[in-house]
Symmetry: C2
Subunit: 297 residues, 2 copies
């Protein structure tokens, strides 16, 4: 399941709880579009803002709605104890894989993080994807540490945070990591603006935010790149530049995608957990104009 | 309660739970030393690693053991919803104040953070201290934002993360913030290495990590500074330089203080929640040597 397009849906919610209907419809839309896998409760799915019970419930909904499409969920939490409980819940709910970010409050050392993955991988029975996202976890992996963790049992993929913009540098970055990890471990690009470059540089999978809301748009880029049509993938990604610019302008993809989901009527407004909020005012109009013009679907 | 020495004890714990006996003894020791207030469940008290039920229980233990010494606890959480619940729990348990850090996973904007404080301060009945700690929350306050938040009802103190090393620069930094906040709001220094400089520069309170384990040592510095004996405060702080160096060497104060607590027999080992760990090996011997030589108490 760690190849192709892995689509990360939002978990629409408000202060009263998760909007289960809207979440289920988002997942069904991904299934209809034939994404390769679904990454529920990723950072885009606001896993960090939900209780254990809520995460278990959302996982069950995702697995039910996904049918034959494999579901992965994040089991990230500050404590190893809680990560193990979340892994248990997720496996009971029938996920096909687990996604583990080294979430931090106190700064973590490389040894802390290695021990976390060592403990968790020894206690699970489904594949695990290493979630490298310094923007939210505030932990910076070295390639050497990735190499050590990738040799642990059950590790099957690494979700990296983007690649350099220049194709040759992107290729060099992916090759450098590839040389340090076993053959059965795939490398997945995240940071949607980098996806085409990453896939063209040899990443096997795109862990995709826009894929969770606009799966056809994301699938077109993925299929082009993975069938060897690097130019077409780059062209399609280039055509979405106004969207990537909005991600930068609004401090990341989440608020933009949540705003887009609200504007398109996929979710009610608000859809994010306070203190997070979607974009309002003129920024919201900017997003509305962009998603219409780009014909995202 | 927002003046003098506010001592932040560890919450000793392991994978099975909180060591309630050890925690209570730490609090009793602070009462015996006559600290001015107790900041239970601060970052040093690992609040972020505990469940709501555990936090409520530790708060009750702190209030019971503290007697007449006022207790403040952190109500930090990623979601506004959970912060409000934690505030309710803490007030029911009898705390005299609440400490609120803007904890983040997704990056927060100044408006998100202002709204968080606006909502929380409108829903509490005890004073609140604003917890500015970018090292753990990854949110950077501007002084302008501090000024806006300090004018909200129930805000009575701001815990700032250190001051510049040079006394005149420290004074300028404290004066700049002071000019933007109401008179009834005190400024408290944290980052133990900066405490003497901060108090000498006009901070009214030291939110202290070592005060939670070695209250007499911290009280001597506090009393000297607040009675106008700036030189003596600086001299006492200077004599602890090997300890400040260990905080830097081991990426912050928590692991060093937890190691010291284990070494002195205040807590069992391990005392931190995995994946956090105290210092082992030669680093542990270094810490043992330092705390003996410095005669911390």
């Amino acid at each position: 399941m760690f190849t192709g397009l892995s689509a990360f849906p939002l978990t629409p919610m408000n202060e009263q709880g998760v909007d289960e209907g809207a979440f289920t419809r988002l997942v069904e839309q991904l299934v209809a579009a034939k994404v390769d896998s679904i990454g529920a409760l990723g950072s885009t799915g606001s896993y960090a803002y939900l209780s254990r019970i809520e995460r278990s419930r959302v996982t069950q909904l995702a697995v039910e709605a996904a049918g034959n499409v494999p579901v992965m969920v994040s089991i990230g939490s500050l404590r190893t104890r809680d990560v193990l409980l979340l892994a248990e819940d997720a496996q009971k709910a029938g996920v096909k894989a687990l996604l583990l970010p080294p979430v931090s409050y106190q700064k973590l050392s490389a040894e802390d993080v290695f021990s976390l993955y060592e403990t968790v991988t020894a206690n699970i029975s489904v594949p695990l994807c290493v979630y490298d996202n310094p923007g939210t976890t505030h932990f910076e992996f070295t390639d050497e540490l990735h190499g050590r963790i990738a040799r642990l049992p059950n590790v099957h993929s690494i979700k990296i945070p983007g690649v350099p913009e220049a194709p040759d540098q992107a290729r060099a970055r992916v090759d450098r990591l590839r040389a340090l990890i076993p053959e059965h471990v795939t490398i997945g690009v995240s940071g949607d603006a980098f996806a085409a470059t990453g896939l063209n540089a040899g990443c096997e999978v795109w862990y995709s935010v826009i894929g969770g809301l606009f799966p056809k748009t994301a699938l077109a880029i993925t299929r082009a790149a993975l069938s060897g049509n690097a130019e077409e993938a780059a062209r399609l990604s280039e055509s979405l530049k106004p969207l990537w610019a909005l991600f930068t302008q609004f401090g990341g993809s989440l608020r933009v995608v949540a705003t887009a989901a609200e504007l398109r009527g996929f979710t009610h407004s608000p859809s994010l957990p306070l203190p997070l909020r979607a974009i309002s005012g003129s920024g919201r109009q900017q997003i509305a104009a962009a998603i219409d013009e780009l014909e995202l679907s």
